[in-house]
Symmetry: C2
Subunit: 600 residues, 2 copies
């Protein structure tokens, strides 16, 4: 059960504490950050995992161990939260955890129930539930719907654990300057434990780091930021838990995209008897109607212990590595948590299916990834060679299923109905849909999940066939713009130190090969022009005037905006895929299909 | 532009006013309720419509006309609200409306912008924007996401319009007993205008009627409840605007599912000079921190006029008629607002496609509905006869496209890959997907929208094929349980006074005809047993114990719950369809796909 045996222990003595060390008795609190990967709804599995991390933390002589937000239920449980029996089962699950805390204190995210429900942190110590903190700031933007379910908390408790003053709060709470962390710090807290289920997007880990370290400085308290890890439908939680010191330094960081247990000794001055007049004044200004501070003593349950000590340096990663790892984890968890062994991928010889196959093999092992090459009369020799060469490099299976015979059977039966009409997009879509059907037939016959291969650029402008190349259970690179698809393949080749993705796939012109001599650029601007417009329009809600100022051609920009607006109906039927940008499609961008608004 | 020339005018003198009539000068305010059907994002179209209703109200000598919530933008605009230029364009649109209010007062729903945005009602009079009210209660449950976008208002203005005291508030505001209506009434308002975009579900109109009339009684004020009408993706707004008197009587009701203009003369005592001590006391108790009451005078712009008078009696409708009309309007508006002329329907000879075809013909006209009958080796003679007989009764086109040739072409090419495997669900799904492809080919070739025919019972348990019978742009009866599908067909036949839907379709066993002698009951409990379990589990979040208490078989209930839980991935890729129950799939029920929770 316990996956990380690499837990290291860091001793942290803040600078100002060291200056005071001569004159004052310092207190030390050994704190563990349990960066776990729970599964939504798997209450018994999550309890088992949490208890195994509690046990390991006890072995490492931690005083306190912090788990992520809603660790008991997984995050986000969405409308499971409307089921009263689910809430009760989650409370039963918490009871089991309470019993497993002998000789240690644990902070565990769960759903609390009073007249309504709360996103809550249980403060548990030595087999007793000491207190429950209720999240105050409930995010309701982007992918978040927390105000759909939860009431906001009013209390700001501060705990006294063996003479160390501790504040506990949850995720969004720490993003607010005058939020619970500030209140708790003003009330004497020197260690603030903030538990999270903070989903990944590009560059977010760095942004969080800056936020949490500056919050530590402002509050003059150590911030223990524990994040969830793992994939859940469209979301990936990247872990990257961290501890920031009271002087704004990053003290330690958990692994990205993997479970982890980080243990750190934090030395503090210890509980103050009184709140200063200045702090009291600021507190009165910050606290809103009905909100209040409370001091709660946790009975002392531990004695002296000798920590082993080893340091951990945060490591910088290039953007490609970060994104690739997010895609890896998201794919792995969607496939495994949904009980699939293998996946099917339509391999076209193009770069999108090449990237998806590479990710799938890295995530699931080559024996679990099955490619199908489905040539038509428009498929080139190069596509065949590239698909097979790449599958060979990956060591994965690839089958050939030609679609001409089926295509002709469709054309024959439809002939008399279509006789006066010319050839158009209908025949292109038919080919894509035959391929979709073949993949789904393999999926049905062998119980494998079909991974679709469309990228964000295509999904944005609707350059994809519903029930054709969009047919499948999980859209791995749905949120990856085409220009980044190239970068990821290049990065992966560099990492491999060899041509894992054949070079020709990287430089040949992209084509759907659905009619003679077709190129993506017949229908779309070149991707290096297209992607910035899409970013501005889809991710940043820029106006037409602002997009014009980027130096775009007016006709091109109008065409792109039109295509985005008119493709909403396709995206509504697309499989879920992994969010890696600040705004993905799916839960993150909720658009009407029936919509006559024109941005220009 | 103006669609309803049937506006009638009702004179309302409340009972208590009549008693006082001898001693007091009564004031009369002629109030128009403009129950319009705007289109989301069509700012210029909506402005044109609003102005045409203002003009008609002026012709009818109304003092004031009330439009629905967010009439300028359409409802719900969803993430269009995140585009700053959309907000600015909506304010420009409002300016055009302001200029068109010569000699009349209008209450118009729009998006107001300050530091953040508000769901707002503009109070406009004689070419001037007098004031803006901000909605206080922002729904964030069910299909609603208003806290994703809007800030809540704090002000409770009361307007003096020629000596008549008027309160204005928005939709959800009226559902709260101690909400703005109460505050405004305590502050002297005798007419409360509540503007709405309240979506339909079965029985909701009656529920609203009870709520609004009892709110009138509690407040001792007339409530002018103006609702939107029309279809928007998954939602239908049913109109049924109404006016409740200060004694709790229903005074007048707008037409359901159609645009309407209702004009009523309301007689009141007129503006009071002072708030009584008792009212002042209750006001102090109700108002929360930061909330306040304000009195605003609207300059008098009208003189005496002589109304014509005719009464309007609310009419009761059977449930089937109500639901059928909701489906009609939802289908009509999705097809028309998205610019499609015609629709394609796969006609199987079964009851689901029969109902969808009937609705489509009623909504769009027989010349715009095109059926395709796609027989396989498993299709019975009866299915053929029934599909053709029904299409004949409707007067719609029906084509025959046999799928055997294509099916054989698939089997042939897949043979060597599947050779050691038996026949299973794969071959059934293949047939459904060939039919989906054929319908989509017709859709692409002729620019028609494919209507899917799956009902709520099938969608709940996943008894449907992704990219097969689920392929299409709009799922008309997605929220209609199978047992109600029968009732709707029976009702429609009774209305017709003849066998519009052939009798045999109504009594033969439901079958997918994807293998020999198949019946729905091979895989599912009979629908009269299944539907109550689905209602309890899907719509009401009942626990397994509660479902057992309904008298269900334990194995059957477990099987049904399992099927519902495991089909979420299919529903996520389903086309949108019309909400007619308190909880539909889609925006209304947000479930994780990756979910290991078991309800038993």
């Amino acid at each position: 059960m316990f996956t990380n045996t690499d837990a290291s222990i860091i001793i942290y003595t803040p600078h100002y504490e060291r200056q005071l060390a001569g004159s004052l008795q310092l207190k030390k609190i050994r704190t563990a950050l349990a960066q776990i990967n729970p599964t939504v709804g798997d209450l018994s599995g999550n309890v088992k995992k949490i208890i195994s991390y509690i046990n390991r933390s006890r072995e490492l002589k931690a005083d306190i161990v912090a788990f992520p937000e809603l660790a008991v239920t997984g995050y986000p449980p969405e409308d499971l939260l409307l089921k009263p029996h689910f809430i009760l089962d989650n409370i039963d699950a918490l009871q089991k955890i309470v019993k497993a805390t002998e000789g240690i204190t644990a902070i565990v995210g769960f759903v609390d129930k009073r007249d309504c429900i709360f996103n809550a942190a249980a403060v548990i110590s030595d087999g007793r539930l000491i207190d429950v903190y209720h999240k105050k700031y409930l995010p309701n933007y982007g992918v978040f719907d927390e105000q759909r379910y939860f009431m906001a908390g009013k209390r700001c408790p501060v705990y006294d654990l063996g003479g160390v003053s501790i504040g506990v709060n949850i995720c969004e709470d720490i993003w607010h300057e005058k939020g619970p962390a500030r209140v708790q710090a003003l009330s004497g807290a020197e260690v603030i434990i903030n538990i999270n289920a903070s989903p990944y997007h590009m560059g977010k880990a760095l942004f969080r780091e800056k936020l949490v370290t500056s919050r530590g400085l402002e509050c003059g308290a150590a911030i223990v930021y524990t994040n969830m890890v793992g994939g859940q439908d469209e979301l990936v939680f990247d872990g990257s838990s961290l501890v920031a010191g009271s002087k704004g330094r990053l003290l330690v960081k958990g692994r990205p995209f993997k479970e982890d247990l980080i243990v750190i000794d934090i030395e503090v001055r210890g509980v103050k008897k009184k709140i200063s007049a200045a702090n009291r004044k600021e507190l009165n200004e910050i606290l809103r109607e009905g909100e209040f501070v409370e001091k709660i003593k946790i009975p002392v349950i531990f004695s002296k212990r000798k920590p082993s000590c080893r340091n951990r340096k945060p490591k910088a990663h290039p953007e490609e590595e970060e994104v690739y790892n997010a895609l890896l984890l998201g794919t792995h968890d969607y496939v495994r948590k949904n009980g699939f062994k293998g996946v099917m991928i339509g391999m076209s010889g193009g770069i999108d299916s090449a990237l998806v196959a590479t990710i799938a093999v890295d995530a699931l092992g080559k024996e679990n990834v099955h490619g199908v090459f489905m040539p038509s009369m428009y498929t080139s020799r190069e596509s065949y060679e590239d698909a097979y060469a790449h599958a060979g490099n990956l060591g994965m299976e690839i089958l050939k299923v030609p679609i001409n015979g089926i295509f002709k059977a469709y054309l024959k039966i439809l002939e008399k109905n279509f006789k006066e009409m010319g050839v158009d997009i209908t025949e292109e879509n038919l080919q894509a849909r035959i391929r979709g059907n073949i993949l789904m037939a393999f999926s049905n016959k062998f119980g494998r999940l079909v991974l679709t291969t469309g990228n964000k650029s295509e999904m944005s402008v609707g350059y994809a066939t519903l029930y054709g190349d969009m047919a499948g259970g999980f859209a791995v690179i749905k949120d990856v713009p085409k220009t980044l698809v190239y970068k990821l393949c290049e990065w992966r080749n560099r990492e491999e130190g060899s041509e894992l993705v054949p070079e020709r796939i990287l430089w040949k012109d992209p084509t759907a090969e659905l009619k003679p001599d077709q190129r993506d650029t017949d229908s779309l601007p070149p991707y290096p022009l297209l992607d910035p417009i899409l970013k501005a329009y889809v991710e940043e809600d820029r106006s037409f005037e602002e997009i014009m100022k980027m130096g775009c051609d007016i006709v091109c920009a109008q065409k792109v905006i039109n295509m985005v607006d008119r493709s909403e109906y396709k995206r509504r039927q697309a499989p879920p895929g992994i969010k890696i940008t600040p705004r993905a499609f799916g839960r993150d961008r909720r658009f009407p299909i029936t919509n006559r608004y024109k941005s220009y």
